[in-house]
């Protein structure tokens, strides 16, 4: 087991966001943190990214005491829900950022950085858009820039906060498939946060269902579907399935006889 999260707890002033969360995942796993808003999934992700500090508990990753590594040295590629692209920089500059801020002795040459940026633009299928500004891109394109920027630092793990939350249904499906294939090609341990049960169960190797600061159940999508560990898990999966089927209805072709 390469990623071991052990009894991590976090409290915001009086409100407990995480009440002792533990799970383990093998190197290269694709893990979904699934739960309703306020269940602590984003807080857990931010702790793994070093953007928030845990009050209690330990995390080991790849043999490192992960929580004692400062955020800027973790090389955890973080993709934010609203992408958080640098608005005053071009797409190419955004992607190159992580390389440009390296200390001089480890920084690649200018030509090398340009080459890597081109490579990443190709990888996320945004060739030729390097000179655009984030405000000139669509939501799906911004999402892919954010991914390319996170991948540029050759991350040890990839952390995605509601990666498809702000996208419309069609783009969401496409990006989902693409992200899974990207993960299978790169093999980077990936953890993503979602409140969409379909997304979690379709995409991930491991799903951790969270509620009120705790993990209710962790397992493969098949296990969770077959044997929900608690009433909450059963209900949450059931409810999202209903919500999705209702949302899909209007897109079905209307029978001609109705006209």
């Amino acid at each position: 087991m390469s990623l071991v999260v052990d009894s991590v707890a976090k409290r915001f002033s009086r409100f407990p966001a995480l009440k002792g969360v533990s799970f383990a995942a093998p190197q290269g796993a694709f893990v979904a943190l699934l739960g309703p808003s306020g269940s602590g999934k984003t807080t857990l992700l931010r702790i793994l990214g070093g953007l928030e500090f845990a009050d209690l508990g330990q995390v080991t990753f790849d043999g490192m005491d992960w929580l004692s590594v400062p955020a800027r040295e973790r090389r955890a590629g973080f993709v934010f829900q609203q992408y958080a692209l640098f608005r005053h920089m071009t797409v190419a500059k955004n992607i190159a950022f992580g390389l440009n801020v390296r200390p001089r002795r480890t920084r690649p040459s200018r030509a090398e950085i340009a080459r890597r940026v081109e490579e990443l633009l190709h990888l996320v299928q945004l060739e030729g858009l390097g000179k655009r500004y984030p405000s000139e891109l669509s939501g799906g394109q911004r999402q892919r820039v954010a991914l390319a920027r996170a991948l540029a630092i050759e991350p040890r793990m990839l952390l995605l906060d509601e990666p498809f939350g702000a996208l419309d249904a069609k783009v969401r499906k496409e990006l989902r498939v693409w992200l899974r294939s990207l993960h299978d090609r790169t093999g980077i341990t990936t953890i993503f946060v979602t409140h969409d049960q379909d997304e979690a169960l379709e995409l991930a190797d491991l799903v951790a269902v969270m509620n009120a600061g705790k993990i209710e159940q962790i397992g493969t999508p098949r296990d969770i579907r077959a044997a929900p560990a608690s009433a909450f898990v059963a209900d949450f999966i059931e409810r999202s399935a209903e919500a999705t089927s209702i949302a899909v209805l209007p897109t079905r072709p209307v029978p001609l006889s109705l006209h």
Partner: protein
């Protein structure tokens, strides 16, 4: 059928009748002309009342030159210091949570609510000969009150909020996401500030600096208390105007006042020009 009826423009839900509208416009324009435009014109008219040469002669006076030099010097010291403070304060308030934050925000506004004269007096009470630190400073032969350091201190106090006030809402609005992204990509604190934060706030910062500078050069009350009015030594432009006026040298007083007014006008023109020239970029930075 409706087309045959007399055309009556539909009123928007928040629009008032034409009479009300005209009245409001008249009141606004009237106030501006009476209280802003007329005095400004009077300043220039008085300065030129005995011809251009008489007005220019006022600038030949060594005391006047010293006052102009001193004003620029005080601004040149006070404005950069307030920029450093303002950026630091705004950064702290907008990007971090800490106990006493609302207290700090309130304190930043203090100079806006306190009379400038009191600001000057406070420094006299602290650094003056009879003040708390007076004896100590005298022993080391350091002069603060009735000297340049006092003028700078009083100016800093009065112009304290300009930069911070301009930046806090802007930086709060922009949130912490981009900084967090920068850190997770391996940027150091300084690098994050220089490459991410600063470019996003540069326009707000520029306005803050312009306003801060305008006030620094025009401040009268606080500076008056700590200056001691030593001609050719501790008189800034606004103080020199008062001295000349009290000496019945109206042309000279208004000539120096015209220079001050011109500096203010230039500030406004520069600000408007920048807003117009970089409208797209400013909008982009504010957009999410």
């Amino acid at each position: 059928m409706a087309a045959l009826l007399p055309a009556r423009r539909a009123r928007g839900p928040i629009e008032d009748g034409p009479v009300t509208r005209a009245a409001f416009i008249l009141i606004a324009v009237g106030f501006i002309v009476l209280f802003l435009l007329l005095p400004l014109i009077t300043v220039f008219a008085q300065a030129l009342s005995q011809g251009v040469n008489a007005a220019l002669a006022a600038f030949d006076d060594p005391d006047a030159r010293s006052a102009i030099r001193l004003t620029f010097l005080v601004a040149a010291i006070a404005v950069p210091l307030n920029v450093v403070f303002g950026v630091a304060a705004a950064w702290a308030v907008a990007k971090f949570d800490f106990p006493g934050k609302s207290m700090l925000v309130t304190l930043i506004d203090l100079p806006f609510s306190v009379s400038p004269v009191i600001a000057g007096l406070v420094y006299v009470l602290i650094f003056g000969l009879q003040g708390w630190l007076g004896p100590l400073l005298r022993d080391y032969n350091i002069k603060i009150i009735f000297a340049l350091p006092g003028l700078v201190l009083a100016t800093i106090f009065v112009t304290f909020p300009f930069v911070a006030r301009e930046l806090i809402p802007l930086m709060t609005d922009q949130g912490r996401d981009e900084e967090e992204a920068a850190v997770s990509l391996g940027a150091s604190g300084w690098s994050t500030f220089r490459r991410v934060t600063l470019p996003n706030i540069k326009w707000g910062l520029l306005y803050g600096v312009l306003l801060c500078n305008a006030r620094a050069m025009g401040e009268f009350g606080a500076v008056s208390v700590v200056s001691g009015h030593i001609r050719g030594l501790t008189n800034t432009m606004p103080l020199h105007v008062e001295v000349l006026y009290n000496d019945y040298q109206y042309v000279g007083a208004f000539a120096i006042a015209s220079l001050l007014a011109l500096l203010a006008l230039v500030t406004l023109v520069v600000k408007s020009f920048l807003e117009w020239r970089y409208a797209d970029e400013i909008a982009a930075v504010h957009r999410h």
